[in-house]
Symmetry: C2
Subunit: 296 residues, 2 copies
C-alpha cells in the first residue's frame, strides 16, 4: 500500500510479451503488481508448453509476487510441472566471505503432480531463513534461532529488531551463495531485471520501481511419456519416503509441500490465525484507507 501510494507501482499495467520463440517468452510487466504479472507469465508458459513441450518465460519490470509456490503450482492442473525462480526485493545476503549485501534470498519453487498422493511442492529461499520469517519473528516479538542471521563481525544475530545490523546466512555456506547468485542471474540478469546493486529494497523505498525479475518454466508431462504412469511413479516415491525408518525422536518423514497442503485445508475450515501485532497494523491501515477493518 505504501508503495502504491508512493507511486512506485503501476496499478494499471499493460503486461505484454516483449520477445518470444517457440520455447520461451520475455514478459514486460510494465511495473504492475507482481501477482498480476506472474499470472500472465505463468499462463503464457502453460500455453506455450502445450506446443513446445517445455516453455521458459522470463519476466522483467515486475514487482514482488507473493509466495513462489503459487506460480510453480499453477501448471499442476494442466498435468505440467512448474519451476519458478525470482530475484528477491531486498538484498540481505553478501557473497560468501563478503560483507556487502549484493544478493537477495532468491527463492526456488518446484511443483510436481502425483496421482493419488498430493503434489510435491518445494518452496524455499536460498538462505537458512527467508527475510519474511525475520519480519514475522519481529511482529510476534520473538527471538530468532542462531544460524538465521549474523552481524558484520560474524557473531550470531538473534534479535529480529536488529535485522538491519546484519545479514542472512545462505544454506550450506558457499553453496547457498552460489544458488542465490545463479537463480538471480537466471531470473534477473537474463531478463534485464534488477540484480546485485540494482535491487531496490522495497521495505525502505516507496517511490522507485523495483524492476523485479522472475522465471517460470512449465514442463508438459505428456511430452515425456504417459502422464498417469509418471504420476504413479511419484506416488511410489512419496510412499517410500514416508514409510522410511526414522531418526530417534522423529515422528514423521515429511514430503515438501505437505505442511502447506495441511495448512490450506485447516485454514479453509477454521480461518487464518493472525498475530496480534499484524492484526493491529492491518486495522490501522484499514482506518487510514477508510475501508472496513478485518475485526469488524
Amino acid at each position: 500500500v505504501r508503495r502504491i501510494q508512493g507511486g512506485a507501482v503501476n496499478v494499471h499495467p499493460t503486461v505484454r510479451i516483449e520477445r518470444e520463440a517457440p520455447g520461451m517468452a520475455l514478459v514486460d510487466g510494465d511495473n504492475g503488481m507482481g501477482h498480476v504479472v506472474m499470472r500472465f507469465a505463468t499462463d503464457t508458459a502453460i500455453e506455450k508448453a502445450r506446443r513446445a513441450g517445455v516453455a521458459w518465460v522470463g519476466v522483467r519490470r515486475s514487482n514482488h509476487a507473493g509466495p513462489a509456490s503459487l506460480y510453480a503450482s499453477m501448471p499442476l492442473a494442466h498435468d505440467m510441472i512448474g519451476l519458478y525462480l525470482a530475484v528477491g526485493n531486498a538484498n540481505h545476503l553478501p557473497a560468501w566471505g563478503g560483507l556487502d549485501m549484493l544478493l537477495s534470498t532468491n527463492p526456488i519453487a518446484v511443483a510436481v503432480p502425483a496421482h493419488e498422493e498430493q503434489s510435491v511442492v518445494l518452496d524455499m529461499a536460498t538462505t537458512v531463513a527467508a527475510y519474511g520469517k525475520v519480519k514475522t519473528k519481529a511482529q510476534r516479538g520473538e527471538l530468532m534461532p542462531e544460524g538465521w542471521m549474523m552481524d558484520r563481525s560474524g557473531k550470531p544475530l538473534t534479535d529480529p529488531k536488529r535485522a538491519d545490523e546484519g545479514f542472512l546466512l545462505p544454506i550450506g555456506g558457499y553453496k547457498g551463495y552460489g544458488l542465490a547468485l545463479m537463480f538471480g542471474l537466471l531470473a534477473g540478469t537474463l531478463n534485464g531485471a534488477a540484480m546485485g546493486r540494482d535491487v531496490v529494497d522495497f521495505n525502505k523505498d516507496d517511490t522507485t520501481p523495483t524492476n523485479t525479475g522472475h522465471a517460470i518454466v512449465a514442463i508438459d508431462l505428456a511430452a515425456f511419456g504417459d502422464v498417469v504412469a509418471f504420476k504413479r511413479r511419484v506416488d511410489l516415491l512419496v510412499r517410500d519416503l514416508r514409510a522410511s525408518a526414522r531418526m530417534p525422536g522423529v515422528e514423521r518423514v515429511r514430503i515438501p509441500g505437505e505442511g502447506s497442503h495441511q495448512a490450506r485445508a485447516d485454514r479453509s475450515r477454521n480461518g487464518i490465525p493472525i498475530p496480534a501485532a499484524l492484526q493491529a497494523a492491518l486495522d490501522k491501515l484499514a482506518a487510514e484507507l477508510g475501508i472496513e477493518p478485518l475485526t469488524s
Copy 2:
C-alpha cells in the same frame, strides 16, 4: 572398467531421440557411457535452443557422466546458458529425519557466460559433501570434517572408511533434502529413469544397468535480448561481488567456477597431481588390462 567388464554398460550404444517437441527432447542413452550420452543430449539441447530460444532435454538409460559442470558449460561457446541436473549413482541420503537412503546427492550445475570476466559456473551436490569427496578422503587416508556424514544414531561420522555405516547430510537440512528430491524428480522420474529405490549403487554392482537420468537445458541469450549487453551485466555483477568488503580473515571473495578455471589453467601447464593411493590403483588396473601405466 569393472562395470564394463561386468556387462553393466553398453560400449556400443545407439543413442537416439525417443520423443521430441520444439522446446524439448527425451533422449534414450541405450545404456551407453554417460559421457557419450550427455554429449549427444547437450548437442541436441543447443541445436533445439537455436530455434526454440530455450530447450530442455531429458535423458534416460544413461550412466554416470562425470562432472556436472562439463555439460552445463558446453552451451557457453554458443552464447547460451547451460543448466544441468542429474540423479546420482548411489543413494547416500535419506529423507530429512529418515534413515532409509532413498536419495542420491543429485547435483545441479549452471554455467553463465560473461564478456571480459570468466564464465560463472556453479557445480554442486545437494549434500554438504559429494560422495566423490568422501572417496577422495579415503584414498588420501584423511578424516572427514564433522558435518559431512552422520551415523544411524545421529552422531557425526568422520572416518571415510566407515562411510557405509552412515549417510551424507543435505545442505540446509530439510532444504537440501527438498532440492535432492526435486532435482531427482526432474532428472530421473520425469524421464522414466531410476530414482528412489530403483537407483543402482554403481560402487557395489558390476552387472546391473543403472538407468541413470539427466536433464540439460540450453538457454539462448539472443532470444532474450542483446548478447553483449547481457554479458556486460554479468561482468559488472562479478566485479561488484569480488570488490565487496570482506569478513575478518577472508582473503578473497570467490565467484563460482573461479577455482575450477584456475585449476584447469594450472594443470594444463603443470600436469595433474594424483594422490599416491589413486596412482597405485591406476597402475594396478593398467597392469591387469595390459596397457601402459601412467608412471611409465
